[in-house]
């Protein structure tokens, strides 16, 4: 187990800048998510840490030891591939044992450790099956067992859950977290799925166009995204443009919106974000507290999803979304003019 650290890492593919001066630290035993859309450089960063590619500049260290020029076979990392990459010509046992036989461990030791690893991923008894005789979920467990049985210093997962259907995915999320805690290994995974990142990670790094946009605990990034991109990529957000006036933000078209965030000097234009679940839909005539921000809008549609309700509203041309818990009250009908209110603490200034 070890800390992993990347400092000023850049990587070019031809003229495409896959990674641009990225620095990030992964603490010992942590579960890290690298989140970003395709082409953001998250997979490149993972492959650089794994040692499949070398950075053009910058340094990567595992356990304090510089490894940026060490090829993957000497780096002692466990990698689980999106395609699982199980060896089709070998049984489950031989797949898991592969890294141990390469290390020339005695047969009895190999049998013991493969048995333990298969038990950890709850696959004991399937060791003589071939990969094509397993279900998707079982294949993933074999891939995981194969990656951890060598007791690597760091575990890397490429889109670990994307190939599973939704029901399996939820179960596997819990399993992955349990296994990671049990062996206490530093784990870094790549995903484009914000829900996966939020539920699995202790910390998240958000990447965009080869740069690290924001890094922190999932809750911190969700509550205080530092850019419109982070706000919309991790969770849902309504964005408003405006200009600073009187210690608040004057939106185009009138209303003054207050925030607890620090603001630049008066006159500067800013973008603020409000999470859809932090807004309250109030009909004309309902009252709201004086601390509440308030804007007018018109209901376009109310989408019912069982335990919750999503209102699609319009303020002028601008679409706004609001999530409401299903409290049993009748939804507001389309076409009704309403007021949307929220607390200043929930106005996030995402660009200054």
């Amino acid at each position: 187990m070890a800390t992993v650290s990347a400092k000023g890492v850049s990587k070019l593919f031809g003229t495409f800048k896959a990674l641009d001066d990225v620095s990030i630290d992964f603490d010992d035993g942590g579960f890290y998510g690298l989140l970003g859309p395709s082409g953001s450089g998250k997979t490149t960063l993972l492959r650089l840490i794994a040692g499949f590619e070398f950075p053009d500049s910058g340094s990567i260290s595992i356990g304090g030891e510089a490894v940026e020029r060490v090829p993957t076979e000497k780096r002692d990392v466990g990698m689980m591939f999106q395609s699982y990459a199980l060896f089709p010509n070998m049984s489950v046992f031989d797949n898991v044992a592969f890294g141990l036989t390469v290390r020339r461990l005695p047969a009895s030791e190999i049998r013991k450790r493969v048995g333990e690893a298969l038990q950890l991923v709850r696959l004991d008894g399937l060791d003589q099956r071939r990969p094509h005789q397993l279900s998707g979920g079982q294949r993933q467990r074999v891939a995981l067992a194969r990656a951890i049985v060598i007791r690597p210093r760091v575990l890397l997962l490429d889109e670990p859950l994307s190939a599973l259907d939704k029901a399996l995915r939820t179960g596997m999320q819990v399993e992955l977290k349990r296994i990671q805690r049990e062996i206490g290994i530093t784990t870094i995974f790549v995903t484009h799925d914000q829900e996966e990142a939020l539920t699995l990670s202790d910390r998240i790094g958000v990447l965009r166009e080869g740069r690290l946009v924001q890094e922190g605990a999932p809750r911190d990034i969700y509550e205080r995204p530092n850019s419109a991109f982070a706000a919309t990529f991790l969770g849902d957000a309504n964005l408003f443009e405006g200009a600073v006036e009187d210690g608040a933000v004057r939106l185009a078209g009138g209303p003054l919106v207050r925030t607890d965030d620090p603001l630049p000097a008066a006159g500067a234009s800013v973008t603020v974000a409000v999470r859809p679940e932090r807004m309250t839909v109030r009909l004309e005539g309902d009252d709201s507290g004086p601390e509440h921000n308030e804007i007018g809008a018109q209901v376009e549609a109310a989408i019912f999803a069982g335990n919750s309700l999503t209102y699609h509203l319009k303020r002028g041309d601008m679409p706004i979304r609001v999530f409401v818990q299903n409290s049993g009250a009748a939804p507001v009908a389309a076409g009704t003019p309403v007021r949307l209110t929220w607390q200043p603490a929930h106005t996030i200034v995402v660009s200054r």
């Binding site: 794994a50 499949f52 090829p71 993957t72 466990g78 395609s83 060896f87 089709p88 010509n89 890294g99």
Partner: protein, 297 residues
């Protein structure tokens, strides 16, 4: 419930009938063609091999085992078969040693337009007449030919190789003729190997040699076996390359069989030798194919 079940069964039978008819209609012509072009000639040959003389020009042969007895009575037939099998094994081995790395580079290292260009170079020999190809080798291999002059230029005083009309000349010519088969069959099975498999093996600490031995070779085995069959079978029966490049060293079972048909007109002996050769091939390849299938999972 019971009524429904009977209804279902009759429905299934009707459907099974229909699909059986479709199978017959669709595959029938192909099997008919194979029967006419492969099975009938083979059966005719098998019949000839049991005759005392060829039923041509009004002569009538009697049924006999004499031709097969001739094979066992003259040791040189067996020697020639062994010589041909050795030739087949050597040509196949050299084709593998040259073709497999070439196929690997084509499948895994080179991408895009360069791959197409190199593929063309592999396939071009197929477009030229085999006889022309073999005769060009005589220019290259003969004493004071292209090869010797090239070597003389680089290493003056290297002496004469005098390759033409030797066993080695036959091997060189046959390897050149059959190399594309090995490259193409290996290429197909190599490019089907997911790059992630190799990356995964590397991340588990495997050296290139281990990856080659435990992953790439087993997974490419169907292609290697297919290539080996495509090369070995025609090479052991080959007669043109041995005649042109081998000279007096070019006597193999293939040239003997050809002589029986074109020079001596002893068709029954030629047919019998052919079937003995076929039996040898089957004995070699059947266990080999099963082993390969087990290896690649």
């Amino acid at each position: 419930m019971a009524h429904e079940a009977t209804h279902d069964t009759t429905g299934n039978t009707a459907q099974a009938d229909r699909s059986a008819r479709a199978v017959v209609l669709l595959t029938g012509p192909a099997y008919l063609w194979l029967t006419v072009t492969v099975l009938l000639p083979l059966v005719a040959m098998l019949y000839f091999s049991f005759l005392s003389e060829a039923p041509i020009a009004g002569r009538v042969g009697e049924l006999t085992l004499e031709q097969y007895r001739a094979f066992f009575e003259h040791a040189f037939y067996l020697e020639l078969i062994l010589r041909s099998l050795r030739l087949g094994a050597e040509v196949t081995l050299f084709c593998f040693l040259l073709g497999f790395p070439c196929a690997y580079v084509l499948a895994k290292t080179i991408k895009g337009r360069w791959r197409e260009a190199l593929f063309l170079l592999v396939i071009i020999p197929f477009w030229s007449n085999a006889l022309v190809r073999v005769f060009s080798w005589t220019m290259v291999l003969r004493g004071n030919g292209l090869l010797e002059r090239a070597i003389e230029t680089v290493f003056p005083g290297a002496g004469s190789l005098d390759l033409l009309f030797t066993y080695n000349a036959v091997v060189i010519g046959l390897v050149h003729s059959y190399l594309p088969y090995m490259i193409l069959t290996c290429y197909i099975s190599l490019q089907a190997i997911d790059d992630d498999l190799i990356a995964a093996a590397r991340s588990l600490g495997a050296s290139w040699l281990t990856i080659l031995r435990r992953l790439i070779l087993p997974l490419a085995m169907p292609g290697i076996v297919a290539g080996a069959v495509l090369i070995f079978v025609p090479v052991i029966g080959s007669f043109m390359e041995p005649r042109i490049l081998g000279g007096r060293q070019g006597t193999f079972i293939g040239t003997i069989i050809e002589d029986q048909f074109t020079a001596v007109f002893n068709w029954p002996l030629g047919a019998a030798l052919s079937f003995i050769l076929l039996a040898c091939v089957l004995v070699i390849f059947i266990p080999f194919t099963f082993a390969a299938r087990r290896m690649s999972g």
